[in-house]
């Protein structure tokens, strides 16, 4: 025999258990609400993180790429598309002397063939260690010394099968470090110095691959992009103009603009998310309030009975609040779990689908967000039930014991 005490808590639990249908209906509303708030929030946070990591990772103020390859360059930076394009290395000499340029370096893009290496083709970026100011400061987080010949640093999404090496064009390269995820194209990129890149090219050519940039010896004369850092940020557009005047067949990209195109679409999404959330909260508050009030209508007699047995109004109020709180917390937990099942395992896919830099928040932020969702959802449930609780205090109908009620 159960000799459990009948506390307000137990009473609330018994009520919820016995009224299964009502409980499930209410829970469903709360769960959908929680799932939307949590899933939408994680999505949004991930986009925001993505933007920040693009900002951090760009490194250069101005990027020069061959004519008509601006969009491809953006895709490499933001989405991890593989592509390659080339221009003459002379470009560096042409712009180097422009006043206000602090540092200048170049990168060479190359792609692994689909089947020869990894499941998917990956972008390979070669850089010049002596002049590079873009890749190395970042790699330093993971690799203290300079990257050695024939070893590679890989982005966060690249699978390193046996833990320490990667096969590209049928040759093994030692993986010196694997970077954290950035949500940008960097995650699907392999970084090497120019010596290594030459070896890769040789191996590829031996296997019969031919490349756009022409013959192997041309490697010394070809580059994909010139990265420029200016000494005074104020001068970026002036320097960009000057480069445009002094060069031909070249696209002058300003990093800030790349970022701002991302942040523009992000702030649009943010506005949409904000309004959707706002409307959703209002709708859920209204729906739950109505649900609770309707349930109160059905519970008039039950409440009168509780009063008859000497339960005070405040205890009955606490019982209703406890029921709402339990439903709120349970619904929040369910909603968070359901949203998590979609949002976390498929984050790479979601990132690709949205086509924006996408970086999942860290575990602390996620935890805070989980707590926030629980508080918001439970709060909504409590606010909604408060109208019903107020009725107990207002109406005498909840106090009499009459036949037929």
């Amino acid at each position: 025999m159960r000799e459990r005490k009948i506390t307000i808590w137990n009473l609330a639990v018994m009520n919820l258990r016995k009224k299964t249908c009502q409980t499930i209906a209410t829970l469903a509303v709360i769960t959908i609400f929680a799932a939307s708030v949590f899933g939408g929030g994680i999505l949004f946070l991930s986009l925001e993180n993505g933007l920040n990591s693009v900002k951090e990772r760009l490194g250069a103020d101005i990027i020069l790429v061959p004519e008509d390859t601006e969009e491809e360059m953006k895709a490499i930076l933001l989405q991890g598309n593989t592509s390659y394009f080339y221009m003459s290395k002379d470009m560096i000499d042409k712009v180097q002397k422009i006043e206000g340029i602090d540092e200048i370096t170049y990168q060479y893009f190359f792609a692994s063939a689909g089947s020869a290496c990894c499941d998917m083709p990956v972008e390979i970026i070669g850089f010049e260690p002596d002049t590079d100011f873009v890749i190395q400061p970042w790699i330093q987080e993971k690799l203290k010394e300079k990257i050695a010949d024939d070893s590679v640093v890989v982005g966060g999404d690249i699978q390193v099968s046996n833990g320490h090496s990667i096969r590209i064009y049928n040759q093994e390269y030692e993986v010196a470090a694997k970077m954290d995820k950035t949500g940008t194209g960097m995650d699907q990129t392999v970084f090497v110095n120019m010596n290594t890149l030459k070896h890769m090219r040789q191996a590829a050519t031996k296997q019969g691959f031919r490349f756009l940039s022409g013959e192997e010896e041309d490697l010394d004369k070809q580059i994909s992009a010139v990265m420029i850092r200016v000494s005074d940020k104020q001068n970026i557009s002036r320097i960009a103009m000057e480069i445009k005047q002094k060069t031909k067949n070249v696209e002058v990209m300003i990093s800030e603009k790349i970022v701002s195109s991302v942040s523009d679409s992000l702030s649009f999404i943010a506005t949409v998310v904000k309004y959707v959330l706002f409307v959703l909260i209002a709708m859920v508050l209204a729906a739950l309030s109505v649900i609770y009030i309707l349930q109160m209508g059905q519970r008039k007699k039950e409440i009168a009975l509780l009063r008859m047995m000497g339960m005070s109004k405040s205890k009955i109020g606490r019982m209703l609040v406890t029921e709402a709180m339990l439903q709120g917390i349970l619904g929040a937990a369910l909603g968070i779990m359901i949203a998590s099942v979609f949002v976390f395992p498929f984050n790479v896919y979601i990132g690709d689908m949205i086509g924006q830099p996408y970086v999942q928040p860290g575990s602390l932020t996620t935890l805070l967000y989980i707590l926030g969702t629980i508080v918001l959802v439970t709060g909504a449930s409590l606010i909604s039930v408060s109208f019903s609780v107020a009725q107990i205090y207002k109406k005498e109908t909840y106090q009499t014991m009459r036949e037929g009620e």
Partner: protein, 230 residues
């Protein structure tokens, strides 16, 4: 305990018009009184019990328990008083449908920490007396009308109240159970409980020590000869 109703009246509002459900009620009851209340449907019998239980407050007049009025007292105090001193067997189905029979019966005893807790054994004895011991783990929806009524009676008695209010307690019971319950009431009254019982049945009235009829004129009247009650 002494209970006194002094010129009590209760006004209700229905369809925007006020009307007196009960007016000029004067009565007093003392320990051991077993009072029957008779009257037509809608004459205010349940209203009277609700007033005595402190569930509603009178529009005029006062209800005194040992000379103390609870009108205007905080809800907490009235509620606790009702829980400890008043047992109420309401009209119709009055069990909590979300609780088992067992939990229903012990519910009033669990509501306040300070209460003297009845033991499982005492509860079982009480259920035995009413013939409902086997129903312990059942839910109200699984019971017959008569069984529900007996559970409600057990629940009203669990805190050994000073006043027992019973609104047609034997309405849906067979002869044997009616007799058993009326005997229990009679015995309780002898031990000092004040009992108010609403009934339509003359034989039932015979068990009580006195009877009141509520007539259409919203008055209460002491009935000496039960046979003239109509």
């Amino acid at each position: 305990m002494n209970l006194t109703l002094k010129d009590v009246g209760k006004k209700y509002t229905r369809n925007q018009t006020d009307f007196w459900a009960l007016r000029h009620v004067n009565l007093s009851a003392k320990t051991g009184d077993f009072i029957s209340i008779v009257g037509k449907s809608g004459s205010g019998k349940s209203t009277l019990l609700n007033l005595i239980a402190g569930m509603i407050s009178p529009t005029e007049g006062e209800v005194l328990y040992d000379e103390i009025s609870y009108i205007g007292a905080p809800d907490k105090i009235i509620s606790k008083f009702r829980n400890q001193k008043i047992g109420y067997v309401a009209q119709g189905q009055s069990l909590l449908s979300n609780l088992t029979v067992w939990d229903n019966i012990r519910f009033p005893n669990q509501l306040y920490d300070s209460e003297k807790k009845v033991s499982a054994k005492e509860l079982e004895e009480l259920m035995d007396k009413l013939g409902i011991r086997d129903l312990k783990t059942s839910y109200p929806e699984q019971l017959s009308g008569g069984e529900m009524r007996r559970v409600a009676i057990a629940r009203a008695l669990v805190n050994s109240p000073d006043i027992l209010l019973a609104d047609e307690p034997t309405g849906d019971l067979d002869e044997e159970n009616t007799r058993i319950i009326l005997e229990i009431f009679k015995e309780l009254a002898k031990k000092g409980t004040i009992i108010f019982m609403v009934t339509h049945d003359k034989e039932t009235v015979a068990y009580s020590t006195s009877a009141y009829a509520i007539l259409d004129g919203n008055m209460t009247k002491f009935v000496k000869n039960i046979d003239n009650m109509e």
